[in-house]
């Protein structure tokens, strides 16, 4: 018995050595480069410029993120077809964040320090961005983050191409107060974006004469909304401001309709329901409900016509475009324009060149605000039509200046948002 065990250990140990060796061999070729800090200039070394694409391709978040990846790939192909950037082709390095925040941090680190990419396009959830942020700041990388979020952030290493709160939530609340009623019920999934957004909304309601009649958070993946709907009925709000995420929206809207409440009885405005989500919920269930975004597939610009056409041609007629998809597409073009202007992929130079950069995006004109590294974006409120597309009810007329810390709003002073 004893002798036998020893041999097990020996073999096992040899394998451990092997494992360590294995981890080592992949790296030897990168050795010389690993000393250069950040490695942002190494990306231009060859005939191509490497860029990272880091979204969840597996796990729960792949529902949303795969389409953004597709749009970014399409933008890269389009740019490459026109001759690339600085005369070089863009070479995407795709990594999977696997819907897991530490994985996002790990893969970001890999892209920057192993692949030496010039920039990274990626992330969806706030949690994934927060996880990547320290990595980008430490290695002085550049991240383009394409999704609307809760604001209160402005990292020197991130460009935010989605809306911040004053480009989506704040104008939507003002519009609702003017057009739909004063009594608000806040419903959200239990995570950071809804809680922060609702905190802002509550201050705004106080300042603009609204009334809060209820606030409720449900765990991620919650699927039974019967009790919540009872509570909403009891509270008798004019408006339900909905910050639920993906799957919970399906359950909520289906069950709301079954409880006999339609968009005629109650206004709901969602900030996380776009064209893609509508298909999973069913347009029949959602008809008449509202959403606030910066872009819809139906947005009427010449750029959008080509964008939608190309996207459908490439990925199939049954696919739809949506706000974050468009923001991901914008990000690639904006980065390419900044690189052309800077004549280099160096992070500091690209950031400098990006200041004030304008571009005719599918959503209309966008401009990079140098101070916050967010975009000027047009706000749009849309109503779901029976075909699953949005009809625009209102827009802000011109791109709104980003204000992630809501410094321009006196009522927001009480939010004590640090910095």
């Amino acid at each position: 018995m004893k002798k036998k065990k020893m041999s097990i250990h020996r073999t096992a140990l040899l394998m451990l050595v092997l494992a360590v060796g294995l981890a080592a061999c992949g790296t030897s070729k990168d050795e010389p480069a690993s000393t250069t800090e950040g490695g942002t200039t190494a990306a231009t070394g060859g005939d191509t410029i490497k860029v990272g694409i880091l979204h969840s391709l597996s796990g729960t978040m792949s529902i949303s993120e795969v389409s953004v990846k597709d749009a970014e790939m399409m933008a890269i192909e389009e740019i490459n077809a026109k001759g690339g950037v600085l005369g070089k082709q863009i070479e995407p390095v795709i990594e999977d964040g696997a819907s897991d925040w530490p994985t996002f941090a790990e893969k970001a680190r890999k892209l920057l320090s192993e692949n030496k990419v010039a920039t990274v396009f990626g992330g969806w959830t706030s949690a994934s961005r927060k996880a990547m942020l320290p990595v980008f700041e430490e290695l002085n990388g550049l991240l383009w983050y394409p999704v609307q979020y809760e604001g209160l952030e402005s990292s020197p290493n991130i460009f935010y191409t989605g809306a911040t709160t004053n480009q989506q939530i704040v104008p939507a609340v003002t519009w609702l107060l003017e057009n739909r009623g004063k009594k608000f019920y806040l419903l959200g999934s239990d995570y950071v974006f809804p809680r922060t957004a609702n905190k802002i909304i509550k201050e705004q309601l106080k300042a603009e004469g609204g009334e809060l009649v209820g606030e409720e958070y449900t765990p991620l993946g919650h699927t039974d909304y019967s009790t919540i709907i009872t509570k909403i009925k009891e509270a008798k709000p004019d408006v339900v401001f909905n910050t639920l995420n993906g799957d919970s929206n399906v359950a909520f809207f289906k069950q709301l309709k079954d409880a006999g409440i339609t968009s005629k009885d109650l206004t709901t405005l969602s900030v996380s329901v776009a064209e893609e989500e509508i298909r999973g919920i069913g347009a029949d269930v959602l008809t008449g409900h509202l959403a606030a975004w910066n872009y819809y597939e139906t947005t009427d610009t010449p750029q959008n016509k080509t964008f939608v056409e190309n996207y459908k041609k490439k990925y199939g007629n049954d696919r739809v475009t949506a706000d974050p998809i468009e923001a991901g597409y914008d990000a690639v073009y904006l980065w390419a324009a900044a690189v052309e202007k800077a004549g280099s992929t160096d992070v500091a130079k690209v950031k400098e060149a990006a200041k004030g950069l304008e571009w005719d995006a599918p959503e209309g004109k966008v401009k990079i605000d140098g101070a916050t590294q967010h975009l000027y974006k047009t706000v749009r409120i849309g109503e779901v039509q029976s075909g699953g597309m949005f009809k625009e009810l209102w827009n802000s007329g011109e791109p709104v200046k980003p204000d992630p810390y809501l410094k321009g709003y006196t009522w927001a002073a009480t939010l004590s948002v640090g910095n």
Partner: protein, 360 residues
């Protein structure tokens, strides 16, 4: 146990020495990024050791080790976050409407306190859970399902108390540890060595435990709990102790994980990571300590390599591994090696060995 210095024993010692040398010398031949990955894997190996202790040796399957791992991680993360905010309130509390640092956060200013908390909180929680369940003779699958309830409770609470815990985002954005910048290569190397030392300590501790009388009772409980009870032992006491030790090891691993990865969030406490931890042990070989270490390192290495290239295929591979290992290779990789060795010697010995891992 007579100490015979047989050839096999000498070879084994040499093997250990080489492995240890390779592990400690890793900073010499690995890039910063790879070193960071390996450090993370070594942290995982510690939690795998703990799991092996209760699953491989005691026959209790916990699908809640993510909770102990996470609690350790949170303890360390709270300390690092306080360090990073330099005496002010952490940023997420600000957004969530707190005006003052909650009292339970204050002691985490001290690294020593945070470290002790990271060991003791998971340990005590495991002890309490073990006390109420094992004493009531809740075991086998019932225990396993209860640990899942624990996971749900813990994650829902952590997410719900955003002002105190950072919600789904978890706690991230650290800058310093013990006065040093946490991102500098020197600190990272130091942290790697710290992790390697802790792994060795944990390994030696577990080895001592399983070789001792205590370990023999654990194995006896695995193979026939009632028989152990009838000879006059109180199995609950042993199960509780093993479970608590396992919880402490998971907490330790969680703390080290946070140091290397720079984030802890409720998703790390979830059911999926908890089950993945079990898979590492299963792959490496339950009931052998080296198997647990090996499983954790190999599986995670393979995950970060393969999932990068074929994200879709990785899920299939992991699913297939679960099935293959459980059905055909109950002894994992070490079991396979063992079997191959035996086939050469004698069939009867091989069959004897199969009895060593009866159905759990």
């Amino acid at each position: 146990m007579t100490q015979t210095w047989s050839r096999a024993r000498i070879w084994a010692l040499i093997g250990y020495a080489v492995a240890a040398a390779a592990m400690f010398a890793a900073p010499l031949y690995l890039s910063d990024f790879r070193l960071n990955l390996l450090a993370k894997f070594l942290a995982f190996a510690i939690v795998a050791l703990g799991l092996d202790l209760i699953w491989g040796y005691t026959g209790i399957l916990s699908l809640g080790h993510g909770v102990f791992f996470g609690l350790g991680g949170y303890a360390m993360a709270m300390h690092l976050k306080l360090q990073a905010s330099g005496g002010r309130m952490p940023d997420f509390m600000d957004w969530s409407g707190l005006t003052a640092l909650p009292a339970f956060w204050k002691p985490f200013e001290s690294l020593g306190f945070a470290f002790l908390a990271g060991l003791l909180i998971p340990g005590v929680l495991a002890l309490i859970l073990g006390y109420v369940t094992f004493r009531n003779r809740i075991r086998g699958v019932y225990f396993t399902i209860l640990t899942q309830a624990l996971v749900i409770i813990a994650t829902t609470l952590l997410i719900g108390q955003q002002a105190y815990t950072g919600g789904t985002n978890g706690i991230t954005g650290y800058s310093k540890i013990a006065g040093q910048s946490i991102s500098s290569p020197d600190t990272k190397q130091m942290l790697y060595w710290v992790t390697a030392i802790f792994l060795v300590v944990a390994f030696v501790l577990c080895r001592f435990l399983v070789k001792s009388r205590f370990g023999k009772v654990l194995r006896a409980i695995r193979d026939g709990e009632n028989r152990v009870r009838f000879i006059g032992y109180n199995p609950a006491l042993y199960q509780m102790t093993a479970f608590a030790i396992s919880g402490v090891l998971a907490g330790l691993a969680g703390m080290l994980f946070v140091l290397h990865v720079g984030i802890i969030s409720p998703s790390m406490l979830g059911i999926v990571p908890s089950i993945e931890m079990v898979l590492w042990v299963a792959i490496g070989g339950r009931g052998t300590l080296i198997g647990a270490v090996l499983g954790a390192v190999l599986m995670n290495g393979a995950k970060s390599e393969i999932s990068a290239q074929y994200p879709d295929a990785w899920t299939f591979i992991m699913g297939a591994l679960f099935i293959v290992v459980v059905v055909f290779l109950p002894g994992g990789v070490t079991g396979l090696v063992e079997r191959l060795k035996f086939r050469k010697r004698s069939v009867s010995e091989h069959e004897q060995e199969a009895v060593r891992h009866p159905a759990v």
